[in-house]
Amino acid sequence: MSDASSFSYLLRLGDDRLVLGHRLSEWCGHGPILEEDIALANVALDLIGEATLLLKLAGQVEGNGRNEDALAYFRDAIDYRNALLVELPIGDFAVTIVRQLFFSVFSLLEMEALRRSANADLAGIAAKAVKESRYHVRHSAQWVITLGDGSDESHARAQRAVDDLWRYTGELFMADAVDRDAAAGGLGVDPSTLAEPWRAQIEEVLRRATLNVPSAAYMQRGGREGRHTEHLGHMLAEMQIVARSHPEATW
């Protein structure tokens, strides 16, 4: 497989975690209770840490001298390769936590597979991320059950979040040439192989939460090719402003 294809694959891994990590950091100081404020910041820190390592590796593979900061701060939305699910606004707490469950289960499965990557650096990053993802899954699953099996209000909001976000979950498992190249070359995993185990785990959590699994519907896509929702540009404007106003600044 070509370096360009490997770079594209690693960029997807890094961008998913960078964008979701930034979204979660928006809760800092706004969590519903102190413990939850801290928890969301912790998960954000793990994801941004993973993104740092993945984007650094992507930059090395690309070979054009771009490091993790260059990739995070000096690309526009059209060059980001994250799935649409992670760029959506944080919404209410139910939206944030249901999205987190959807992504964390996916990430855990993806990273478990990537522990066997032929790229030793990626395998090492994945081994670390698996441990972190287990905590993210447990945290979000417990919350989804608490909200779903809670009051009428929390149940209704959790169900609405599941229904609204469902159409963004399909993209996580749509494999294209970049994914198939990465899987065939031993670098990555074909995401379509993760769809079934993901669905089994999500259905189990939703059942315990007394929430309905939405029936199959049209699935949104585009993020992996750089076609994003309007939300990503706004998010990046905030995330990148300091680095772009003061390029090369150190502190």
Partner: protein, 167 residues
């Protein structure tokens, strides 16, 4: 500055015992298992470290402290390499380190997590309160003041406390 004789691996680890974790200052980076290898030669010292968590913000401070400790020994240039495999686990923490943690007021980690894919059930084994040693405790949050800790509450002595998470 005069360079001294090249120290052994054991001597180098002893030097690094002086570098404490900035978030848990009773433990050295050696006791935490962050230092994976140290090799000295005529060309200087190469230290191999592994982060506790991918985004641990203390790693930068720890690197600076390692450089400072080794600079004081005048062993030449210091190179710090970071490795991610094998991934850091709390199982590397020594029994002595666990005692120090408990004495400091942080419950030491139990055995690292099982490979259960989706750990939905709350953990059966409870954590011992570092203050009154009761096992009548409950977890309040999986995440605490730092990435490596969770928040617990002791129902006996009515004290909140932190646990060093097993990973």
């Amino acid at each position: 500055m005069v360079k001294r004789a090249i120290p052994s691996r054991e001597e180098l680890f002893e030097i690094l015992q002086s570098v404490k974790d900035p978030e848990v200052p009773v433990l050295s980076v050696v006791e935490l298992g962050i230092i994976r290898d140290v090799v000295a030669s005529d060309a200087g010292v190469v230290v191999t470290i592994t982060p506790t968590y991918s985004g641990c913000p203390a790693m930068h401070a720890i690197e600076l402290e390692i450089r400072r400790a080794l600079a004081a020994e005048a062993l030449g240039p210091v190179e710090i390499r970071t490795t991610y495999s094998p991934a850091w686990t709390t199982d590397w923490m020594t029994a002595e380190a666990r005692e120090k943690l408990e004495a400091y007021g942080i419950a030491p980690p139990g055995r690292a997590e099982s490979s259960e894919l989706i750990p939905l059930r709350r953990r059966a084994a409870t954590i011992r309160c570092p203050y009154c040693k009761s096992h009548n405790t409950e977890q309040k949050s999986v995440f605490g003041s730092t990435a490596c800790k969770s928040i617990w509450f002791c129902n006996e002595c009515r004290q909140p406390f932190e646990e060093f998470k097993a990973i």
